[in-house]
Amino acid sequence: MSDVVANGVQFHVQHLNPPAKSEGAAAERTAPPVVFLHGLGMDNMASFYYTVAGAVAKTGAECVLYDMRGHGSSERPRTGYTMEDSVADLTGILDALEIEGPVHLIGNSYGGTIALDFAAVSHGRAASLVLIEAHFNVDGWSEQIAAERERVAGVVAEMGEENLQAWIRRFGRKVVKMMDALTDLANHTSFYPDLTRNRPIPTEALRALTCPIRAVYGERSDVPDYERQLKDLLPHASLTVVEGVGHSVLMDATPQVREIVLEWLASSEVSRSGVRAAQSSEPDRG
């Protein structure tokens, strides 16, 4: 399956090792699926598909990758880019794939932010989290996005929109296509306004998370204050800092990140948590 409609938006989805199911019957799962959430802007599911997801799928695990709305090969609607929308999109895609029980979430950058928010509001649907260079949707985060928007706008203004377009068009089809998509997303949708008015997740909701959490950051991470945030909000999370890399740890230290994710999913703490989450989420679903 590669296209799923959720929340009225068409999503490009790759569903690896989907469970067998007989006509009319619900699929039977022996373990929670692993869901990969990519970052914002230039990113799409390919960054996980090429690095970690294939190795996880090779262990036989059911994997779900999708391009977020406005990204990759998913539809780019004019609105719907708040965190609430992103969490609703994730929920909608899981529903469309008939995944009702808990899932392991692996999120990179903003994908990690979505994973945290989803875990905080979904009442037990997160079996475990791997947060790679995740930002925290707490006070101050919207201001960071607004500042980044200002910085990019400043660069574009300095260069002049026409010069920028001429410069982009000197490159091949791939860069032109990517930049056109990004320009449309940034300038002609509610992407930035929506992100900059994100409602912070209550810090108590993050502190109340009990599922196992693994955090991976680059030594030169540009996520402000992540160590303090982890200690304060997710004290039970275990942290690995990868030497010699920055925010793009997934691409720049792929073998290490892949190893961490594989070990994590195979660990008894995480597989036990999957079983526990499945049991506790059953009564909710009648």
């Binding site: 790759q14 090429y50 799928a57 990759g72």
Partner: protein, 98 residues
């Protein structure tokens, strides 16, 4: 496999690969390009990473689960994926389906 059978399997898979690339990238872009074993996905076809993912899932859909594109890529590092040529995929499909 005899040499003749091998050549015919090669041509057949190459045809399918050509058709799936055209579906993903779009005919208008490929007008002046003859896709062969030596064609590079990155340099010649300028395929976006996400287009390569879609191409792979179409390949799996066409040949069935034996051609597992995600598993095929899982054994490769990023540089190998970026430098990949059409012939590598053709060889993989032939190996996976024979």
């Amino acid at each position: 496999m005899t040499t003749d059978a091998r050549i015919s399997a090669d041509a057949e898979v190459l045809d399918v690969v050509r058709r799936l690339i055209t579906e993903v990238v779009g005919e208008e872009y490929l007008l002046d390009l003859e896709i062969g074993r030596e064609t590079s996905f990155e340099d010649d076809l300028e395929m976006e990473s996400i287009e390569f993912v879609k191409f792979g899932s179409r390949l799996t859909a066409h040949y069935g689960g034996g051609v597992d594109f995600a598993a095929f890529l899982a054994d490769k590092d990023l540089d190998e994926i970026i430098e990949m040529r059409v012939g590598t995929v053709v060889d993989y499909v032939i190996a996976a389906t024979s």
